[in-house]
Symmetry: C2
Subunit: 131 residues, 2 copies
DNA sequence: ACGTTACATGACGTTAACGTCAACTTCACT
DNA sequence: AGTGAAGTTGACGTTAACGTCATGTAACGT
């Protein structure tokens, strides 16, 4: 019989490349809420999904507080209309920001590429002169 | 006769929505190096260009130290070959990172859009039921 | 000459996101 | 029963990126 797959804190660390301190810290910030076996934490599949979202959010430069709100939006779907409308707005704004960021990033990438082509040319010139 | 356009620290603040403290702080971090009129700072066109790059870098989530290196790459083109090659590599890496970030961002945007469509549908349902 | 701005420097405070250390429990074995 | 590994809860330390005084000076209008 396959037990419900839960991971210890150490296994979580190894799997997601985070420290135990980080996981406990996220818990105090109410980003995670693993179940307990006595005093020990056990992370369910749900916890792991949340952690992945957290880590991705971080790569986008979102603050943990931002991420907490986003997670709430993803998870809390049995809410009332006002609640839903509010989280919907929050999501819309976030979406706008992300799109703007992506566009700006595209421009910056293009610029950097041009710049690097110039550098590459300079390097070639150096090498040619050294022959 | 048009004097060489330089801005005072206050004018810089108003123009770019940063505090004087921030500008002085950037100076201690060698991100900016305005000229002096006595003890007072005067920001040239070059300084303004650098500040814009700094602010854009920040919007992408780069650290000030990252930005400093990027700025060096943009500006120092009279360097030796080793120097140039090194900064070139640095730029390449950064470019990879930025592209990866952009791609990840695109995925997240798509997901969020789907999610929000669901929320929008739920809202409509609510409204329909309320008629 | 004098008061009011504008600016300067220096020192200390602040927040986010953990790191680090100490001092227990608690299993899992031997 | 003893020991070692893994886990727990505090408590304090750390870094980045500024904010917030306190204090001092310099130019400008009256």
């Amino acid at each position: 019989m396959t037990t419900v797959e839960t991971l210890t804190i150490r296994e979580m660390c190894d799997t997601y490349q985070v420290t135990a301190r980080t996981l406990r810290f996220y818990e105090t910030k109410e980003l995670l809420s693993p179940i307990r076996a006595g005093s020990r934490r056990l992370y369910t599949k749900q916890d792991r999904a949340r952690l992945q979202l957290i880590l991705r959010g971080k790569r986008f430069g979102f603050s943990l507080e931002d991420i907490r709100q986003l997670l709430d939006m993803y998870n809390r779907n049995g809410s009332n209309q006002a609640q839903l409308a509010r989280t919907f707005d929050l999501g819309q704004n976030r979406l706008e920001q992300m799109k703007a960021q992506r566009d700006e990033l595209s421009v910056a990438i293009a610029e950097l590429e041009t710049e690097l082509q110039g550098a590459a040319a300079a390097l070639s010139a150096f090498r040619d002169a050294a022959e």
